[in-house]
Amino acid sequence: MTATEQLYERMYFIRRFEETLLDLFSAGKLVGTTHTYIGQEANATGIIAHLDPDRDVVFSNHRCHGHYLAFTDDAYGLLCEVMGRADGVCGGKGGSQHLCNGNFYSNGVLGSIVPVATGIALAERERGAGAVTIAFLGDGTLGQGVVYESLNLASLWSLPILFVLENNFYAQSTPSALQIAGDITARAEAFGIETAHLDTTDVAVVEREAAQVVQRVRDTGRPFFLVIDTYRFSPHSKGDDIRDPAEIEERRELDPLLVAGARLDEATRGSLERACEERLAEVVDRALAAEAA
């Protein structure tokens, strides 16, 4: 498989996994909550491609499924976790927002993960094995004070941590304009942290830029703050969308699957998609049949 194909396949699988979750919810086969990653797949896919799951660490947030799948490829463990099955990656105790598997962690309290990821980066700096820690946050999370305490600590102590801000312009129902003053990258720069700002849904671009950024953190042992402008097509959670449908439609032209898919010939794309569908169907069947936690 070429790199382009691999990236497409991963994104496609994440997309279909998340759509399947929403379907299962609608069908009453799932309870609880979920925050799907539909529309943002290029970020997790392009960035995590540069991590070594045996060495590097990811700390994610409430919208963690895409990050989790890109890092672990453990669709069955994730689906069982969300479905409250004993085979869930946390035995059903964590659910959608609270995952842990090897070097992957997530927690659902906004901002809360940032100090913990900072502590992880401190531990990894001390261990000296060259690990990079990534903390994923959303634009709304910039409202939390601990984020700035942690940016200060990460810079002050030279910690190998990459903060990835997935800027989808909304926090639940609230647009950025009602939450964020000033400039986002300037906030990190004020702490002496290098930043980069991407406005793209093209996984090839994210992948290329992330290669440099991850390597930069590895080489310098210093923090880095990467902002990626993106968009989510799905509701914040399930069925709670009040955005203008026209706005969503317009953004669909930049759907990362469209952008990346255009680079593949139809036959290749079709066979990748079919393989994903088959795998997903099998995962769903197994999860549905699995024992309750």
Binding site: K93, A117, R127
Partner: protein
């Protein structure tokens, strides 16, 4: 050899750092020559410069930083300058530190220690004098240890660092300057003293060698000298004997020594420096009546701070916090009912 408690804790830290190289200490103003606001870390940063980190004033994050280090196999000790500032860390404590192990299905442990001094009687005023440990009692997944001047502080702190659970190690500001008093031949100040087994032991003091008496006084931490003084006064002035149980572990509560004592005395008075409502005493009382209703011959009494702020002025602070007189009065009240 007589040693002040702060010095014992200081030596304990040096020993722990010597013994384990996965231990780090983080806190504000902890570097030499300052050595921490209460001097407990003195000398540590000189001996172990790479493992003692002075931090910005960022408590809300520091609890999380300690959690992150612990998740990755280190054993951080976080010094919080005043116990009151634990309030800044509550998100991390409740939604992270207390949850990670169970929420992540036992795939992780959090061997961290938070050391912090609680307590008033120094005129520091409403935000630097509180005893907030009761707030930690409602948090599943953490261990709360209360150090007292009669505990083997060296062992207590060492055990906390070796513990795979997150431990809140509650110290006390007045205790720092007091002499550590370990039982000698089973006695402290003429009171018989029996230590329970295991980690974070409780101490049971009795005025008579036979044990028993008017009531069991259940207390912990910085209230120890006040309660022991009350117990002595009750003997000398009122010929009333009591047993005093000084708890080592508040959460999960080590109830056994209290139950054993109540079986001998038939009455319970709880004594704490924190405010009364929803306090440690309330929890002890609820559990004792559940477990030992038949042993209780009298209603349980609670001695605690009034529900309010701790004023700075000495006179006002004294009126707010429970003292020897309050403890004596509570035991007399129990006796009064009995009489």
């Amino acid at each position: 050899m007589e040693q002040r408690c702060a010095q014992v804790l200081n030596e304990a830290l040096l020993e722990i750092f010597e013994r384990r190289d996965d231990v780090y200490l983080l806190g504000e103003d902890v570097l030499d020559p300052y050595g921490g606001a209460f001097k407990v870390t003195q000398g540590l940063s000189t001996r172990f410069p790479d493992r003692v980190l002075t931090t910005p004033i960022s408590e809300a994050s520091l609890f999380g930083v300690a959690a992150g280090m612990a998740l990755r196999g280190y054993r951080p000790i976080l010094e919080i300058m005043f116990g009151d500032f634990v309030a800044l860390g509550f998100d991390q404590i409740v939604n992270g530190i207390g949850k990670f192990r169970e929420m992540f299905d036992d795939q992780v442990t959090l061997p961290l220690v938070v050391r912090t001094p609680m307590g008033g009687r120094r005129g520091y005023g409403p935000t630097h004098s509180q005893s907030l440990e009761k707030l930690l009692l409602g948090v599943p997944g953490i261990t709360v240890v209360a150090a007292s001047e009669c505990h083997d502080l060296r062992a207590l702190l060492s055990e906390a660092v070796d513990d795979d659970e997150p431990v809140f190690f509650v110290e006390n500001k007045l205790m720092y300057g007091r002499t550590q008093r370990r039982p000698e031949n089973g006695y402290v100040d003429g009171l018989r003293c029996v230590e329970s087994d295991g980690r974070y032991p409780s101490l049971t003091f009795s005025g008579s060698d036979a044990g028993g008496g008017s009531a069991t006084l259940a207390t912990y931490g910085g209230m120890l000298p006040i309660v022991l003084e009350a117990a002595t006064r009750l003997i000398l002035e009122h010929e009333l004997f009591t047993e005093v149980v000084v708890l080592g572990r508040l959460h999960p509560l080590e109830l056994e020594p209290v139950l054993e004592s109540v079986a001998r005395t038939g009455a319970l008075v709880t004594v704490e420096e924190g405010t009364r409502t929803g306090g440690v005493g309330a929890e002890i009382a609820a559990r004792v009546q559940e477990a030992a209703w038949d042993d209780l011959h009298r209603p349980i009494e609670r001695v605690a701070a009034r529900d309010g702020i701790i004023p700075a002025a000495r006179t006002l602070e004294d009126a707010m916090l429970p003292g020897v007189d309050d403890v004596v009065a509570a035991v007399m009240a129990v006796e009064g009912v009995r009489g």
